[in-house]
Amino acid sequence: MGDGQPEAELGKVVLVTGVSRDLGRTFARSLAGDPGVDRVIGVDVVPPRGDVGDVSFVRADIRNPVIAKVIAKEDVDTVVHMSVIATPGTAGGRNTMKELNVIGTMQLLAACQRATSLQHLVVKSTTTVYGASNRDPAMFTEDMQPRRAPRSGYAKDVAEIESYVRGFARRRPDVRVTTLRCANVLGPAVVSPLTSYLRLPVVPTVIGYDARLQVLHEQDLYGVLQHAVREEVAGTFNVAGDGILMLSQALRRLQRPTVPMPGFAVGRMGNLLRQARVADFSPEQLAFLTYGRGVDTTRMRTQLGFEPTMTTAEAFADFATTLTPTGGRAERVLATLSQALPDPDEPVLEAVAGPEGAEQATGPRAVPAHGAPGGAEHE
């Protein structure tokens, strides 16, 4: 097991829950490569779908007390809780999802409370706890509460999980507890309600509304989790890429044609897609796609000391590289038109009397190149 090194107090022994899914598995693998980490134990109900590398996988259900034995036996000092799922997916219905999320966390925290070896707890939460409504402030800070308490679904699960984690932190003040409220994760390989929505060939949008989106790139999610394991900073932090993209803007950058329809129709369509297993559409996603959400990441920088490598715009650009554009006809027409016109003005507008060559170079650019200028001028 491990690297064959003696189990010294130098390296950490990290237990990662929820490794059967891609994000958990990839994170556990990258954590195993961290020099500060001795051993990584991955736990889940079902075996991981891919290669877990140096991670030792233990098939255990966090919903029953077996997990306590794993923590005690392996002398775990750090627990990274990632087993919070947004949609029932393959797990079954909403009841199973709630059981996995809430009961699983309760059992895990109960086991942690007993484990004397435990020193650190990192919980991957989500910005969904803030909800999305017309009464939201533009940017949520960590101290703000959702304007309406979530009554069902994923958001309620996460709110309950966070309250259990706070309770645990009170009961075990010697354990450093870090809660990371991550924005929606975007990446070429990520399967989530948001990515499957964006991957639809024709995207339904809520008519008359334009949501503000803020996302976190997959790599930055791994980065921040690893950072939290390594740096030992306690607290609750919003984690998201810089900048905001409007939903309409993001869909244009992804070259996705849209169909505006009333909110209830989008919700019904989402349900249909979920039943048809085309897209993982969660009910709270409708509010998110109507009103959007932004989070303030000042504390992530100042206290946690983490700097995401990608902005929201760059994350979208990276996501777009794997996407086959289904729209963008208007853009192509305009591109041809602007090439037909002898127009040396675009460099003149932006730079100082630029040559025509610069304009020609920007003419036949590909999808990611569209995102790049937006990403470069982020704020």
């Binding site: 017309n134 009464r135 993209l245 305009l334 016109l341 002898p342 127009d343 675009e346 200028p373």
Partner: protein, 386 residues
């Protein structure tokens, strides 16, 4: 009738129209030289006679213009238009291009290519989404190019807005513009935005009620135009970010008040705007708007229907339900916007924002300033429409 003798008039059996090979009779007589055609003008005696007698004399002068005039079938200066030519390709591409260029020059002026390319670049930016919005969803490009351009004629031509005291708006850094609210529909907010943009060169970031962000289309436009929700968090965040924030503390009580109560300021909220200004240490610029009260004189209300629809009021104006959509046209009152002297808040310490007495005092000070300025402006005004 087929065997009837056809007597051609004036052309001696030769058809009068040109056929391509042979020129028309008019062309023949113009070109001269051809013997048959020359004397054909039997109907008009004088030119025909002259032509027959002076044929030799006339020929040299005419042959200067048309060198091939002496030949049997003289080629005219322009070949005769053929039917095939005329209908083959519609309007020729060159003509189209020329017309397009003229039209483009008309629309875009002399540098039309540059202008058009610039416009095209703008369109492409919009279509590809490679523009930037800030964290409140403010889209500067569309605001400047579209919203402001659409509102400017209304402000200048319809309401003939007169702006005073624009120098009271700081050229940079955060400031809070506090204004009275009136007019049934918040047109005064839009007019203030465009006036500040045109006169002070800054964007006013309005704080809107949550109803604004609940309504479809309105919410999208509000965010793109730079508005955000009127809550302390957003106000302080914007002010800290050095924005010029606009607030209408009367809210729906102000715009929804009956016409009889015009220019009487309502309660100024709970003074939240003052505590936001004190916490961030930015000056408060009082703004008095005269003229907005008269655009839709509110003479009645339908509270029952309003409650069902979840809106604060359903207005009845002298024109609105009566004239249908025509009633939505605001009355062209004359507007006066006066920015008062800034009220400094930076001398208060941070804890002052939590002192309710101080906050109430500053709120009253702002309210009184605006009320007094309103009375002064009303005295100055000649009439509602002038």
């Amino acid at each position: 009738m087929s065997d009837a003798e056809i007597i051609p008039i004036g052309t001696r059996g030769r058809p009068g129209r040109g056929t391509g090979k042979a020129p028309s009779s008019a062309a023949r007589s113009l070109a001269g030289g051809s013997g048959g055609g020359a004397g054909s003008k039997g109907t008009s005696g004088r030119p025909a006679q002259r032509r027959t007698s002076e044929e030799e004399a006339a020929e040299p002068t005419e042959s200067d213009q048309t060198p091939a005039a002496a030949s049997e079938t003289p080629v005219p200066e322009r070949p005769a238009a053929r039917t095939r030519d005329r209908h083959a390709g519609g309007i020729p591409a060159a003509d189209l291009m020329a017309a397009f260029q003229v039209a483009a020059r008309e629309v875009f002026g002399e540098e039309w290519e540059v202008q058009l390319a610039r416009f095209l670049a703008f369109l492409r930016r919009r279509v590809t989404g490679s523009y930037v919005v800030d964290e409140y969803g403010f889209d500067q490009e569309i605001t400047q190019r579209f919203f402001m351009a659409a509102l400017r004629p209304i402000a200048q031509k319809w309401f003939r807005i007169e702006v005073r005291g624009i120098e009271n708006i700081p050229t940079d850094g955060g400031a809070l513009v506090v204004s009275n609210h009136s007019g049934t529909v918040p047109v005064d907010g839009l007019m203030t935005m465009v006036s500040i943009h045109d006169h002070a060169g800054r964007y006013l970031r309005p704080l809107g009620a949550d109803l604004v962000f609940r309504l479809p289309i309105v919410s999208t436009m509000a965010r793109k135009g730079g508005a955000t929700l009127a809550c302390n968090e957003d106000a302080e965040r914007m002010l800290r970010g050095g924005e010029l924030v606009g607030v209408w503390p009367e809210g729906f009580k102000g715009i929804g008040k009956p016409y009889a109560e015009r220019y009487k300021l309502q309660r100024f909220g709970r003074g939240g705007f003052v505590s936001a200004a004190i916490r961030t240490g930015v000056p408060i610029v009082p703004l008095s708007v005269v003229g907005a009260e008269e655009i839709y004189p509110l003479v009645g209300n339908l509270p029952g229907l309003a409650r069902i629809l979840g809106v604060p009021y359903i207005p009845i104006t002298p024109t609105f339900p009566l004239l249908g959509p025509l009633g939505l046209v605001p009355l062209p009152s004359k507007w006066l916007l006066e920015f008062g002297e800034p009220i400094r808040t930076d001398e208060y310490d941070g804890g002052a924002a939590d002192d309710p007495m101080l906050v109430f005092n500053v709120t009253d000070q702002v309210r009184e300033t605006i009320q007094q300025t309103l009375y002064t402006l009303l005295m100055e005004r000649e009439s509602v429409f002038r």
